[in-house]
Symmetry: C2
Subunit: 284 residues, 2 copies
């Protein structure tokens, strides 16, 4: 039996009953986080908690108990007997259930808080050999910095990639490469690590932030600047990042083979340091 968290209680996931009046269901009026459990600790829970708080603030959803997110996550790991395996926590907070109306309901309506946990099998093959990704126009809204559940554009775009055997859909907005449907993307050009700067057009990824720190510690030059689609031929290496993919090399981008078509040197350096940090933390 899967145990979930729902509005203050731990219960069987089967017993979670989202109201048809929930604004998460009717208006995509909610935020979420996905956090990874590394058999003993959550990866950078502090950053996930900060981002969750920011998302809630941007939408003006008031979840007074937001600081319980780490403890709640830990409890879900325990109750689902996931302590000793890779696992994921999903948390969603919506503006609650109220008579359907575009304006926000009274501040007395409590948010809906739902979380669950599941065992997770890392995709080692992709991390080693790299993935092929699609390039497609970014049709999303202008607040991609908010980790909201308004993900329809993301799913529609990802499905297009998925259907033709590609493993991510990378977006281009006004000629500039922004990010993936559920990942950030990095490039190595002229020996520099390039990625789209934080803005309303990308999500500030927790893994992205850690990669920038790691690259800096490795002495790799960083350029937080959007890469033009027209400059693909100058890209020597590419990789995506997110909570589940960590650092996953990209070997083909929009039909263009990147570098030698195998994971690049800089990518591997960053990947190794990322992995060793996780491993060391694990052993401590």
């Amino acid at each position: 039996m899967q145990i979930a968290y729902f509005n203050g209680k731990f219960l069987s996931k089967e017993d979670v009953k989202i109201s048809p009046d929930d604004r998460g269901f009717l208006f995509a009026d909610g935020v979420y986080e996905v956090v990874r459990w590394y058999e003993g600790f959550f990866f950078d829970m502090d950053s996930h908690l900060s981002r969750l708080k920011r998302s809630l603030r941007e939408l003006r959803i008031n979840w007074a108990e937001v600081d319980m997110f780490p403890a709640l996550s830990h409890e879900l790991i325990k109750q689902n007997n996931l302590e000793n395996q890779p696992a994921m926590i999903y948390l969603q907070v919506s503006r609650g259930a109220a008579k359907r109306s575009h304006n926000f309901p009274s501040s007395e309506v409590p948010p809906t808080v739902y979380a669950n946990a599941w065992g997770f099998v890392p995709d080692i093959q992709s991390k080693e050999s790299g993935i092929k990704v699609m390039l497609k126009e970014d049709i999303r809204w202008n607040r991609c910095d908010i980790k909201s559940v308004a993900l329809l554009a993301n799913t529609l775009s990802f499905q297009e990639a998925y259907q033709v055997g590609l493993q991510e859909c990378i977006f281009v907005r006004n000629g500039l490469i922004t990010e993936g449907s559920h990942s950030n993307i990095f490039f190595v050009i002229d020996g520099m690590l390039c990625t789209h700067p934080e803005s309303n057009h990308i999500l500030s990824g927790v893994t992205r932030k850690n990669i920038l720190r790691i690259a800096d510690e490795l002495g790799i030059k960083i350029r937080e600047e959007a890469v033009q689609e027209s400059r693909i031929r100058f890209i020597k290496e590419a990789f995506i990042s997110n909570t589940s993919a960590e650092v996953t090399p990209v070997t083909v981008l929009g039909g263009n083979t990147i570098g030698d078509g195998v994971p690049g040197h800089v990518t591997k350096l960053i990947q190794e340091k990322f992995d060793s940090e996780v491993k060391n933390k694990h052993e401590n």
Copy 2:
């Protein structure tokens, strides 16, 4: 007790249980329709049904029983004893419940179909005196032609208007006035009725379509062309349209008084014909 429709059954709304795995809840991966009951008939149900089919097709959601929408709506009116009063039907179809993943689930996963009905009090005051509306940058995605539940941008924008006592938020994209957060908008300029043409930037409103037909029948010249925000001073009349507001005059747009600050002549002509059509249909 409110009776709702949920996945093939009529039941108490309290007993509707949306799964936390529902893609409507997790990804805004669903579509909806709102249809108005005029004490005896639904307003242009054919157009609502056609649009619903188009939305489902665009998202590739397969609801095999879509043609039952009119009968289902009628049954909800009956079961909720709403035959003899103005009422609304809300229908939502999402891609169903499945383990969370950006790609679509197997085609065997059935869609989630939910509908409810409620008695409705028309806002006669606004129809008579007009409303004041905000103008704001359109931050929505690029597929506003799909009537999806990815409405977060709409609710956030409408709330801004609502908070300062305005009754709608009208969007401007690249300098062009598109539509409202939950309405279309029309202008009278140089004696012509102007409105944004059908495109991926607006929803093809059922009321909008009927207004264009009515205007044509009244011999009013029509220009389906976007109006530039910079040309507001040339606007002599304005009104919004949707299923609940029907034809509702706009007297103040983004702080600018329109015409004499009262509902205009052309607006009233269209409003009268709209109302008389409904009244005649009612008497037949």
